[in-house]
């Protein structure tokens, strides 16, 4: 017991030390650059951040960006799941989806954004972009998970006449679960990044992207970095939340 606890502590201590190390690197760079406009210190960024979080606008901005981007991600997760099941069951679905999925997988986000801007209003574009970025991740991982199911267990189920629902619970779900879990966590952080990028390029009103864009325009470097920190923290928050929800969805008897 004691050993475990001290090991756990040690792990966290090392992580903390690593963060301190990088803050130190930052501080050293600050000293050598010696220009608040080019590179503000960690302390002044933190102070800016503390100022920011006291404004209502800060929280509204986060809410605005989050609602759209997370909505796009959730839409992609649910439809990606459905598409993957369709592609697993019917070859024609898989063939039909192959091209669009390939395009979504390979197109650079910025390229897609400026193309989409030709036809679409910038305001809600982040929903679409998050959707397009997350969909192929969910789709291909779930499909891979479905294909990894144990064929011999399916034969067993067929011989015993096990119902489709029980087959899903016993054989398909356990095969898909780890693929789905990693796809969702990776997908959400991808979708979040792409969504913010969209807001910057499209300059969507009241968004985190817009705040970043403005900060850049007026050389408010401290604000820019403070927002970058916020973006990272939110991304971690959503990833952890996703993990937690998935753990709750997992039946107790299955480990």
């Amino acid at each position: 017991m004691k050993l475990f606890r001290s090991l756990g502590l040690k792990k966290h201590r090392n992580q903390l030390l690593a963060v301190l190390f990088w803050l130190l690197v930052w501080e050293v760079l600050v000293l050598s650059v010696d220009n608040e406009l080019l590179l503000p210190s960690p302390a002044s960024v933190l102070l800016t951040l503390l100022d920011l979080i006291q404004t209502l606008d800060f929280w509204q901005t986060i809410l605005y960006s989050s609602l759209r981007i997370i909505f796009g991600c959730l839409l992609a997760i649910s439809t990606g799941l459905v598409f993957a099941i369709g592609a697993y069951r019917f070859l024609w679905v898989k063939d039909l989806l192959a091209l669009p999925v390939k395009i979504m997988e390979t197109i650079p986000v910025a390229c897609f954004i400026i193309i989409a801007l030709i036809w679409l209003h910038p305001q809600n574009l982040s929903i679409l972009v998050a959707y397009m970025m997350v969909l192929p991740i969910i789709y291909s991982n779930v499909l891979q998970g479905l294909k990894s199911r144990d064929e011999k267990l399916l034969q067993m189920a067929r011989v015993f006449g096990v119902s489709t629902w029980k087959k899903i619970k016993a054989i398909y779900a356990p095969a898909v679960r780890p693929f789905f879990l990693s796809a969702v966590t990776v997908g959400i952080s991808f979708g979040w990044k792409a969504g913010i990028a969209t807001e910057i390029i499209a300059n969507s009103n009241h968004s985190i992207g817009e705040r970043l864009y403005e900060a850049k325009l007026y050389w408010m470097t401290k604000e820019q970095l403070a927002w970058a920190v916020v973006i990272i923290l939110i991304s971690i928050f959503y990833e952890k939340t996703a993990r937690m929800i998935m753990r709750l969805l997992q039946p107790q008897s299955e480990t």
Binding site: L153, A157, V159, A170
Partner: protein
């Protein structure tokens, strides 16, 4: 109606495993299928279960039958406990206590009792897993029971107990037991089918 294979030929690529094999199982009785390792016993089982297509010949009497089986491999849901594995295939009317009583009959009570039944079968020994598959096959609704080397990994005393259990549970049903052990076949009794190794 008896169950029959008539002049069945099965090839895997260039290799002919069954070359015009004909066998018949007596309905409602014990049938033992014997033969050396590699002679095609499990292939016959898979053909009877409808899991393998044949190259020529006929399979008679297997259409629309309720089948239960122990496969050559355990084919258990590894992360589930023994109870859940059995519940997957059996009727809802069987209670947990009913199933635990069956586990008792094959000497699994110490491992699968109420307090410990949550242990996933992946943590069981080979012999324990085999007995779970036997209980699973015998509690499923069926009129034909096919067991492919079901007593693998059981010591002699336990084997006698499990054989008695199998005979009791399958009385009146068509039973096919694959084995390469003469003693096992004698203890089971019934119709003996000997398979020669294909050349």
């Amino acid at each position: 109606m008896d169950i029959e294979l008539r002049e069945v030929t099965k090839r895997f690529g260039a290799k002919t495993v069954l070359d015009g094999v004909s066998i018949s199982l007596s309905e409602g009785q014990v049938n033992c299928l014997m033969g050396p390792s590699g002679s095609g016993k499990s292939t016959i089982v898979n053909i009877l279960l409808g899991l393998l297509p044949i190259d020529s010949g006929q399979v008679i009497g297997m259409k629309n039958r309720k089948i239960a089986a122990v496969f050559q491999e355990d084919r258990l849901i590894e992360h589930w406990d023994a109870l859940k594995n059995v519940q997957l295939v059996c009727d809802k009317s069987l209670t947990k206590e009913d199933i635990l009583r069956e586990f008792q009959q094959v000497g699994l009570e110490e491992d699968v009792d109420l307090k410990d039944h949550r242990k996933p079968v992946s943590l069981y020994s080979g012999g324990m897993r085999r007995r779970v598959t036997i209980v699973r096959a015998l509690l499923a609704q069926s009129d034909i029971v096919i067991l492919d080397e079901p007593f693998k990994g059981l010591d002699d005393a336990l084997k006698l107990q499990v054989i008695a259990y199998v005979k009791q549970k399958t009385a009146g049903k068509t039973l096919l037991v694959v084995t390469h052990d003469k003693e096992e076949a004698q203890q089971l009794g019934g119709n003996m089918i000997i398979l020669q190794a294909a050349v």
